[in-house]
């Protein structure tokens, strides 16, 4: 009985994904065929993808999204670990205040930042440019929060041992702390990647050149093209492309993936 319920639920929920992926490989008339073709009758490997790449700079979008996500991951993971470690294992004046300062930023919904951040970034001259696209949002306080939790669990003896060779605190951080934090860092990296990969509002507002746009915003070019009928086949192909990196992360790093998601949830 459970099986039947589960099978029903799984079918209903997985259906749109199934539809998206199979449509990416159908011939254009098939994509919109009613009644729907559960499997492509006329399987076309790359036609829809090529179409998508011709209509808009699909691979450019992919590159931009990857660049943005990797930079965000690198910055949040490294500086998050650094700051988290700093808050966890050092007592300096103003520690509680600064930590509160950082954590407060987690409560800020992006909508309140959009307009002032836009004006601020324009003042820097970064509007419609890579710095303007990538720098705001490249560090997430959640990284600091999560890493502080994990760093405070590190045994002090290990750190003392690391200080013995007298190479300095930063050196110890790189050599001892980071490797110890690796599993947590991986989970953090995955969650930050997912967040950045789907970032929509900021790129929408700050980018105006097609070439600078990210995949998330670029997708709308296919479903709502300017003065053109929607290109559904290409949209499904582009959507599949946009889902693949996250799907890969899920397949290869499932444990970290789940841990990352639940960690993000529990942080509240």
């Amino acid at each position: 009985m459970w099986f039947v319920c589960a099978a029903l639920a799984a079918t209903v929920f997985a259906f749109p994904i199934w539809f998206m992926v199979t449509s990416a490989f159908k011939a254009e008339p098939e994509v919109q065929a009613i009644p729907i073709h559960w499997l492509p009758h006329d399987f076309q490997w790359f036609a829809r993808f090529r179409e998508a790449a011709e209509f808009a700079p699909l691979w450019r979008y992919f590159f931009n999204s990857t660049l943005l996500s990797l930079v965000h991951v690198a910055v949040t993971v490294f500086f998050g670990a650094l700051a988290g470690f700093g808050f966890a294992k050092y007592k300096f004046p103003g520690r509680s205040f600064l930590f509160l300062f950082v954590i407060c930023t987690l409560m800020i919904p992006f909508q309140i930042l959009v307009v002032p951040l836009f004006i601020e970034v324009k003042a820097f001259g970064w509007e419609n440019s890579y710095p303007g696209l990538i720098i705001p949002g490249m560090m997430n306080a959640f990284g600091v929060f999560m890493m502080r939790q994990y760093a405070s669990d590190l045994p002090d003896e290990l750190l003392e041992a690391g200080r013995m060779d007298g190479a300095g605190e930063f050196h110890m951080f790189l050599r001892i702390v980071l490797p110890l934090l690796l599993p947590a860092l991986t989970s953090l990296a995955i969650i930050v990647f997912i967040w950045s990969w789907g970032a929509f509002l900021w790129p929408l507002v700050i980018v105006q050149d097609r070439e600078l746009n990210v995949l998330a915003v670029g997708l709308t070019n296919y479903s709502q093209p300017y003065q053109h009928a929607p290109m559904w086949g290409a949209a499904m192909a582009a959507s599949t492309v946009a889902t693949i990196p996250i799907a890969c992360l899920f397949v290869f790093f499932q444990r970290y993936f789940i841990k990352g998601l639940t960690a993000a949830a529990v942080k509240g």
């Binding site: 929920f13 749109p16 539809f19 700093g86 930042l113 601020e120 998330a216 889902t243 998601l261």
Partner: protein, 292 residues
């Protein structure tokens, strides 16, 4: 003799946290404060900002667009939290049972979480075409060939809720599962030995243990629902949908800021949104303190 540098090791902590702190000061805290200031002005980009004090907020209460957006947001939040809370709990209970093919089915059920919101919106935009797949599935047997899922003033907001819930239910199922796994099996065995039915076991054993998870799911889904933007933006024909039926507060900020260029009003709306979210977060803290 070399003097040992008497630098207190702990200053390094300050150095380590400084990059992060500076970044947040520039890109989070300062803009928020700037946003609060903006909300007290009238600024259209072409002329310098004009101080108006609390006028923007005062006017919001008689602003039909704002009131519509507020109403729509509350309706959406209700539809995105209560059904999700219940359904994801049921799903978690379901997939907690042992049966053949559980892993595969659970993975399939979890698929909606993978694509970014934009992708989900684009795919659903196609599925919800008036003459599209959903119409065929729901209408063909009744002989209906056109259902305006996204352009009918009643159906449009419901469609938004449905699409949101489609992705939210599997996600929160995961959270529930993490909580369920934490229930000591002895408690459940004890109940079973005492002859309790599955329903009684659930009500008297599981639920109390899941209290903090329950609060977590409720809070997270609420905060997330308040900030909804991308879904409405992509799934509506014009930002705001037919007769503004899918205009939510997140979209209104964009509309006031980047369509109407009323920066002060955009900031004011976002301040109201911020306040509502803070209220929800405060509520959660209060609940947790009571529970803990």
């Amino acid at each position: 003799m070399r003097r040992r540098k008497p630098i207190n090791r702990h200053w390094w902590g300050l150095i380590f946290v400084l990059p992060g702190v500076l970044y947040f000061a520039v890109f989070s805290i300062f803009p928020v404060l700037f946003g609060f200031t903006l909300s007290l002005t009238d600024y259209d980009l072409l002329d310098p900002p004009n101080w108006v004090g609390l006028d923007n907020f005062r006017e919001l209460f008689s602003d039909r667009l704002f009131l519509t957006a507020l109403g729509n947001t509350l309706v959406f939040v209700a539809g995105a939290t209560v059904p999700v809370w219940v359904a994801s709990l049921l799903a978690a209970l379901l997939f907690d049972q042992v049966f053949r093919g559980r892993t595969v089915l659970k993975t399939l059920f979890f698929l909606p979480v993978l694509p970014p919101v934009v992708v989900a919106a684009v795919v659903w935009r196609m599925l919800l075409h008036p003459n599209g797949v959903m119409t065929w599935l729901f209408g063909a047997w009744r002989g209906v060939t056109e259902i305006d899922w996204l352009s009918n003033t009643v159906l449009a907001p419901l469609s938004m809720i449905a699409v949101h819930d489609w992705a939210a239910i599997p996600f929160f199922m995961l959270i529930w599962l993490a909580g369920i796994v934490g229930i000591p099996p002895e408690l459940r065995d004890a109940a079973h030995t005492d002859g309790a039915t599955p329903l009684q076991t659930f009500w008297h054993v599981d639920l109390p243990q899941l209290r903090s998870t329950a609060v977590l799911v409720a809070t997270l889904s609420t905060i997330n629902a308040f900030q909804t933007f991308t879904l409405q933006y992509v799934l509506s024909t014009d930002p705001g949908g037919p007769a503004n039926s899918t205009l939510v507060l997140g979209l209104l900020v964009l509309k006031y800021g980047f369509q109407y260029f009323r920066m002060g009003d955009a900031a004011a709306v976002s301040v109201v949104l911020f306040a509502m979210i803070l209220a929800v977060t405060a509520g959660q803290l209060w609940f947790n303190r009571r529970a803990g």
